[in-house]
Amino acid sequence: MAKDMRETRIEDLPGPKSKEELEEMKMPYEEYCRATFDPGNEHTKPEPLRGVRWMSTTMYIFTPHSVSNLAELGAEVVKVEMPRMGDPMRHTSPFNECYLYPLHDTRPMTGTGLGFLNANPNEYYITMDYHLDEMKEAFYRLVKMFDGLTECYRPGTFDKWKQSYIYLQELNPRFIYVWGGGFGYGPKVFGGSYDILGQAHAGLASVTGMHDFMGGHCAKHSNWCIDWYSGTQITFGILAAIHWRETTGLGTMIEFSQVQAATRCLGYAAPMYGRFGIVRQRWGNWDTQLCAHGIILCGKSDFPDVANPQDKHDACYVMVSAFQDDDFKELCAITGMKDLYGKYKAHKDRVEGEAQVEIYAALEKWAEDKSRSQVVKILQDAGLLAEPVMNDREVYESEHFRQRGSIRYLDDPIFGDVLTHAGYSSGMMSKTPRRQNWIWRPVGADNVKIYHELLGYPTATVQEWYDKSWI
């Protein structure tokens, strides 16, 4: 300690005394990440969008998902649904099997299907037949108090009901209005849209699936990937509009066409046509730019004796990547394809279509008498990138996802024990993480909270609207 207590000396302070010591005292990166992101304790941290209020007059997945991103980040979102019925998406479920109850007290035998999952978490649920003149006042009062609205109706519908951006910006100039149209404005303005239509009309389905010489057809993705993708694109638009409003004080109208969204993820397709007149073709589980870089079929399943057919028959695919010259050389050495290495030493040669057919056929021939895990082990031991194509059960059981918290059980306050993954697999933020508070709520569950507690209507009025099926 220094003689004069007012003197500060580096050696008296806690912490490292030199650069070398600092390096030594640093936490290993793995530990740092675990401590920083701390999965499971998201609720102890602040929400980045707290204070943002959003209205969601949306249906299905595309537009609801644009708002659910906000709700997971802490915005206060009010979902406005049809009285008694709710979002039509509530009435969809995989093979009509999986529902959670109740939906509404008047419909005790109807539940909300898992098709609704992940598109509307953390939101407050009210009902309102907003096209009625009688409900306009309540709708407009919400608009005055909220930052924005997302809707998904056919073009002009909200305008006809006097609640399009043209009307709402007069009530609230700071209002941000999103019209998630199917086709958007243009010659096909009146076309409705769904995810499959988006995939089909934007050119995505035409390049998805195996090549026709392998018996492939145009394919849609099994999941509604364009709904989720374009919903997230809208969220980016909303965040940018909020930022713009901080500068100018003015709202924005966002018009988002689902069928144009998929073209963004089509990579080189349109530019290639523009430059060479070549129409992009399907190439299935392989890659048009890299080889070897695709999914191969092994001869044996990893779980030949189990009852579940998804395990029994499908646990036999491996993703393998060895497109760099050294990696491809190694791949050829361990799989006995030495002649192929001699033939396709340069990447520009092996990426050609005919070469790929030959290479992947030889790889599958080599894997014919092996199981998925054997193939992965052989390739990984050789220092190559290879991973099994996993099914949902394997994802659920994966220690990697469990430790990262990206798949976890949520004790939903109304529906009980529900396994969730979406909110926590959308990237982590150390200071202001996403979170899921509840998966959804019954139809009209927050009618009193919003109409009475927020807007100040007497409960008798709320009950009267309810009895008339206006809410």
């Binding site: 479920s93 093979f95 009509n96 099997e97 999986c98 529902y99 959670l100 109850y101 109740p102 509404h104 007290d105 008047t106 005790p108 035998m109 109807t110 539940g111 009902t127 195996m210 026709d212 010489f213 392998m214 018996g215 492939g216 579940n308 057919p309 998804q310 028959h313 499908d314 056929a361 059981e397 469990r402 059980y409 004790d411 306050p413 109304i414 529906f415 009980g416 024990d417 529900v418 396994l419 509840w438 709520r441 019954p442 139809v443 009209g444 569950a445 927050d446 009618n447 009193v448 909270k449 109409y451 409960t459 709320v462 009950q463 609207w465 309810y466 809410i471």
Partner: protein, 160 residues
């Protein structure tokens, strides 16, 4: 595009006349034995890039696989759909038998904790359909609560 084996084998004095479809996904580059879906005669074929290089030649051996699909165009297109055992190739993409097609009632999740997956639920909403943020399982459905206590006692409730 798809090659075929038109089976002309005479059975009981009558030609089989079944068209067996060799879907390119399986048969594009393929060498082996395939059966006729109708008369089960086994043919050896060798296909290279979709072209039938050798065959079909009748052999007296067990088939390696079956055609995807077959029909009898001379008899009003009577056909064998995919997935008929012994005739056409097993077709695993059909909906699994584990799917029931009707709402499946569950009271507990995969790890054994209560989940509201059964109907009818007792009415529990307040004014104008409003709900709080609590599922009072003990009060609303005491029998499920009781079952849950038993599961807990038996150690059937786990973390995952």
């Amino acid at each position: 595009m798809c090659d075929i084996i038109w089976c002309k084998k005479e059975i009981n004095g009558k030609k089989c006349n079944t068209v067996n479809y060799l879907d390119p996904y399986c048969f594009w580059n393929w060498e082996g034995k395939v059966n006729c879906a109708e008369c089960k005669t086994v043919y050896y074929i060798h296909m290279i890039q979709g072209f039938m290089y050798i065959g079909p030649e009748e052999v007296n051996e067990k088939p390696d696989t079956s055609p995807l699909y077959a029909d009898k165009p001379l008899e009003g297109y009577r056909n064998y759909l995919p997935g008929i055992e012994g005739r056409t190739r097993p077709y695993q993409c059909l909906p699994r038998d584990i799917y029931l097609g009707v709402a499946d009632m569950v009271k507990f999740s995969a790890r054994g904790r209560p989940v509201r997956g059964w109907r009818p639920q007792p009415p529990s909403a307040g004014i104008a359909g409003s709900f709080g943020f609590e599922w009072d399982i003990q009060k609303l459905t005491p029998e499920v609560w009781e079952e849950y206590q038993q599961k807990l006692a038996k150690g059937e409730v786990s973390e995952w």
